[in-house]
């Protein structure tokens, strides 16, 4: 998120920032004209100090048709230019689905986390890796309510409407970690539905994808099967945990991923992210330790 | 027609109600393709046509200034609607059955409420409590809305 729209890192967000700059200049000009006229009127045409009774009434001026036409036509011309700029920018940014082209990524919003499913079957919750300088076609879906996928430095925002997939180009001009937010009010934890887009050089991206597609090396402890698998084995109900140890963050890019935070999340998720769908389950100390240790091994 | 305040006010109310009904009927049309099968299987065009004629007749009798037959015909229409609802509910078509149930009961149900309200108002008129011309406008409106609903929901399903 740092500096959001002020710091675009993709061709589409640069187009948007440039368009906004034009809008800003236009707006500033209009405002200065209006404010200037108002200031002039306020200073120049202030009533003489005196009693209302002795006021001289200035001569009335009921209007002027040429002036009205001028300040109707001129704005129309300016707005026409803005409209042309708008339509051109839309064409360069928009990502309509070409027939026969499958998306590279399917990004799904849930209450309250995002995940990305890659063509090789990898499911990556909350931290979406992409190759830098190659654009990916992302399909945006939702399993429940309307969310909005927004990573301001990289892409336009787009609503995730259940039952109605949408498409957006996801691209970054330099490697880096870019923050995203959900941008359509979606319930209790809308404010904590963050995600990261991690753009990496091609080689590192492929290596990551490879690692993610490996199955977990150690079997889960019994507690996991009893208390966690109901949700977490179902990608629609809970974030996929197969490679949780390789993630930088927990709780939808909420807190840093370290053993202490992981243990706290497992034991008391409601204290970390009140209102989220993972209940506090009254686990014993040893259960928490076992889960923390196993999850911590899932690179 | 001479415009009185009451008639002007009623026209504005009718305008607002028309917008209201328009949006509900639009939703029926929007979901029509998903509703068509159930509609064709469960609606009874002949029976409903009879009750429709009764309602239209009530508009005619009102125009002739005959309140009692108007109210009687209106009541027959409502009874007919009630009969139709019963039949639908018994064959499993409820509000929650699917898009047909949802849109059918909403559109016709809201109309039934307006028809009932219209009959009550006509009752007040017959007791000399309300201005007849403005209330008559409301009843014509209720009839006109039904013509549209009948066309969109029934005729368009079968014809």
């Amino acid at each position: 998120m740092p500096l959001g729209s002020f710091n675009p890192h993709s061709s589409q967000t640069q187009i948007i920032t440039a368009l906004f700059a034009n809008v800003l200049i236009l707006s500033a000009a209009v405002f200065l004209i209006v404010a200037g006229l108002v200031a002039y009127a306020v200073v120049r045409y202030r009533a003489e100090k005196g009693l209302p009774a002795g006021e001289t009434e200035p001569p009335p001026n009921f209007g002027s048709r040429p002036i009205e036409i001028a300040w109707t036509v001129l704005p129309i011309l300016i707005l026409t230019a803005l409209f042309v700029m708008t339509v051109r920018a839309m064409a360069r940014i928009d990502a309509p689905l070409e027939p026969g082209r499958a998306p590279d990524l399917v990004i799904t919003g849930h209450q309250w986390w995002w995940d990305a499913r890659y063509t090789n079957g990898v499911i990556a919750p909350s931290e979406i890796h992409i190759p830098a300088s190659r654009r990916m076609l992302a399909e945006i879906d939702s399993t429940d309510v309307i969310h909005d996928f927004w990573v301001p430095q990289l892409a336009r925002k787009i609503d995730a409407v259940p039952g109605r997939p949408a498409y957006v180009w996801l691209e970054a001009d330099t490697p880096g970690t870019y923050r995203g937010e959900c941008s359509e009010f979606c319930g209790a934890d809308h404010a904590r539905m963050h995600f990261l887009v991690i753009a990496e050089p091609e080689a590192e991206y492929s290596a990551w994808l490879q690692r993610e597609s490996q199955p977990a090396r150690t079997p889960p402890p019994v507690t996991f099967q009893q208390k966690c698998a109901d949700c977490h084995a179902n990608p629609a109900k809970g974030p996929d945990l197969s490679h949780i140890a390789s993630r930088q963050t927990l709780g939808a890019a909420l807190s840093p991923n370290n053993p202490a935070n992981l243990a706290l999340w497992i034991e008391k998720p409601q204290s970390v992210k009140p209102g989220n769908r993972m209940p506090d389950q009254q686990l014993s100390g040893s259960e928490v330790a076992a889960l923390t240790s196993w999850l911590g091994s899932l690179q | 027609m001479t415009w009185t305040k009451a008639k002007l006010g009623m026209s504005m109310l009718i305008l607002a109600e028309s917008v209201f009904f328009f949006m509900l009927i639009l939703s029926f049309i929007y979901f029509r393709s998903e509703s068509l099968k159930t509609a064709a299987a469960t609606l009874h065009l002949p029976m409903t046509s009879i009750y429709t004629v009764c309602l239209l007749a009530s508009g005619f009798t009102l125009w002739r200034g005959r309140l009692a037959p108007t109210i009687a015909l209106g009541v027959i229409f409502l009874l007919g609607q009630g009969r139709e609802y019963l039949a639908l509910l018994q064959s499993g078509v409820t509000m929650s059955q699917g898009l047909f149930g949802t849109t059918f009961f909403t559109v016709t149900g809201i109309h039934v409420i307006h028809a009932a309200l219209g009959l009550i108002l006509l009752g007040f008129v017959s007791f000399g409590r309300l201005a007849a011309p403005a209330i008559a406008m409301f009843w014509y409106f209720v009839t006109a809305v039904w013509v549209v609903v009948f066309a969109v929901v029934y005729l368009w399903t079968f014809v």
Binding site: M1, A47, P52, S183, H190 | G9
Partner: protein
């Protein structure tokens, strides 16, 4: 008490509306302060997420339906008969019915807090979030039912306005001589007839889904969440113009009187009102630009949304030009009217930014849009309302509001308002979404939010000072004559039935028989 419950005359009903709007404004303002407190610093935990979500929903719903709409209605009910030379509204009992519908609706809405579950899905409650499955408590049922009641009251009062203006004008008061306040209220009332029933239909459908298991908006059952958005915004966009047109009417009365010049371009101000009314029904999709609806559809609505800026601009230019060549008296009323011009221009320009669709693709649903709506609704409508209160208070009470207190009120509001909301443009550009109960410590988010909260505190002082001014002046205010501002429209006449109406400024003609507005037959 029977003076309240039994009131049907337009003056008492008007004052009742204003009083009720003030109470709800204080409540809505308190809700805003609670939000700003929670947002003053990153990661605060003053409120739980769900409480915050209830508060922002109630704040929006209250301000729109229980403050702005009623205050504008109240001014209309009070002033329109006076301005057109009528003795009361066409249907006085309907005035009362409309008022009490809105009170019952408002009380019902607030009753939801007692259930521990006030509505919490935002003032426009998008589906599927608003469905029972995702909002299980009764909060949204309260919300929908109360808005149906309030909406019905609004429609009833609009019918009353139309019939009154159509049928109760005094001799000589032709449509073309109507004070612009009356004209704008007439156009507004027609807009209400075409917009509010759409809201009622949408709410009926939502209640059907929630209470009777209907399928309108439930994607999982074949329904369409987008249908809710279309339906709501087909109401919602005209609604925002409904919330500003009467304010435009007030400004159109106030600026000329304190500039000592008739309004510049009356026919164009009147015609541009019609243009806005028509165009406002053709722009609603701009609230949905972030939905993948296809470039063609979005471009059409972008064009319409840009076009609607033109008639609004025409008004701003006409008001400004009215002041040029005048002899301007800076009463508190005029201060607010002039500030309105600047604040509303900013709000309008930020709106045009959204019409440039790719800008919307970054800025919608962020604090940039929160800034926009508050610049037009607060800097616009509410500033005009303050101007209107200072202007018409002497007509309603026979007393003048205190001018020195008024100056303090004005400057506290201007400083507080801009401090609160200008920085929110920047927060939106920095990536802060709207409707978030808290935020992380990103660069500049904390300091800007803190400025915004401090600004809100200053605003609170300003509003409290305003209330104090009203109370003090009711008791101790200087006695005003029937025409303290030397104005020109019929409401200021001692006895309007004694005034011949031959132009748009009947009292000017009376006071200046040597130079009347109307052209004598020669």
């Amino acid at each position: 008490m029977s003076g309240v419950l039994g009131a049907v005359d337009h003056k008492r009903i008007g004052v009742l509306y204003l009083f009720s709007a003030l109470i709800f404004a204080l409540i809505g303002g308190a809700e805003a302060m609670v939000m700003r407190a929670q947002l003053s610093l990153p990661n605060l935990k003053l409120l739980t997420p769900d409480t915050y979500n209830q508060v922002f929903t109630m704040h929006g719903t209250t301000m729109i339906f229980l403050v702005v709409m009623p205050v504008l209605t109240g001014f209309g009910v009070y002033l329109i008969p006076l301005m057109i030379g009528a003795h009361d509204m066409a249907f006085p009992c309907l005035s009362a019915v409309a008022f009490w519908l809105h009170i019952v609706g408002g009380l019902l809405l607030y009753l939801s807090f007692a259930t521990g579950n006030a509505p919490n899905a935002g003032w426009f409650s998008y589906a599927p979030l608003s469905e029972k499955q995702y909002s299980p408590g009764p909060g949204l049922d309260f919300w929908a039912v109360s808005l149906i009641l309030i909406g019905s009251g609004i429609i009833a009062s609009a019918i009353n306005f139309i019939v009154t203006i159509a049928a109760s004008r005094t001799a000589g008061m032709t449509i073309r001589r109507l004070p612009l306040f009356v004209w704008m209220n007439l156009v507004n009332a027609v807009m209400i007839i075409f917009a509010l029933p759409v809201l009622v239909a949408s709410l009926v459908m939502l209640l059907g889904d929630r209470l009777l298991h209907a399928r309108f908006f439930d994607a999982a059952q074949g329904g369409s969440p987008l249908l809710w958005q279309h339906y709501f915004w087909i109401f919602g966009h005209p609604e925002v113009y409904i919330m500003i047109l009467p304010a435009f009417g007030m400004i159109s009365e106030i600026i000329p009187v304190f500039s000592r010049k008739p309004i510049f371009g009356y026919p164009f101000v009147a015609a541009s009102t019609l243009a806005i009314a028509f165009l406002s029904y053709g722009v609603w999709v701009h609230h949905m630009f972030a939905v993948a609806l296809g470039r063609t559809l979005l471009s059409v609505f972008a064009a319409a949304s840009m076009l609607i800026a033109v008639p609004t601009g025409v008004k701003v230019f006409n008001w400004t030009t009215t002041m040029l060549g005048g002899s301007i008296r800076f009463t508190t009323s005029m201060l607010f009217a002039v500030a309105f011009l600047l604040e509303f221009t900013i709000g309008g320009l930020s709106g045009v930014a959204f019409a440039a669709v790719p800008v919307d693709w970054q800025m919608t649903d962020t604090y940039f849009v929160v800034a926009h709506i508050h610049y037009v609704l607060f800097g616009g409508t509410l500033f005009a309302v303050f101007a209107g209160v200072y202007y018409w208070f002497p007509k309603m009470t026979g007393k003048l509001l205190d001018e020195p207190l008024g100056r303090w009120h004005f400057w506290l509001i201007v400083v507080g308002f801009n401090a609160t909301f200008f920085v929110q443009h920047i927060l939106g550009l920095l990536g802060m979404p709207r409707r978030v109960y808290t935020y992380a410590d990103f660069p500049w988010w904390g300091p800007l939010n803190l400025i915004s909260t401090i600004g809100a505190g200053i605003l609170t002082f300003g509003v409290l000072l305003f209330v104090a001014n009203v109370l003090v002046s009711l008791r101790f205010g200087a006695v005003a004559g029937c025409d303290p501002w030397n104005a020109w429209t019929l409401e200021w006449a001692e006895d309007f039935s004694a005034v011949t109406v031959q132009s748009r400024r009947p009292l000017w003609d009376l006071k200046h028989p040597e130079a009347p507005d109307w052209v004598p037959e020669s």
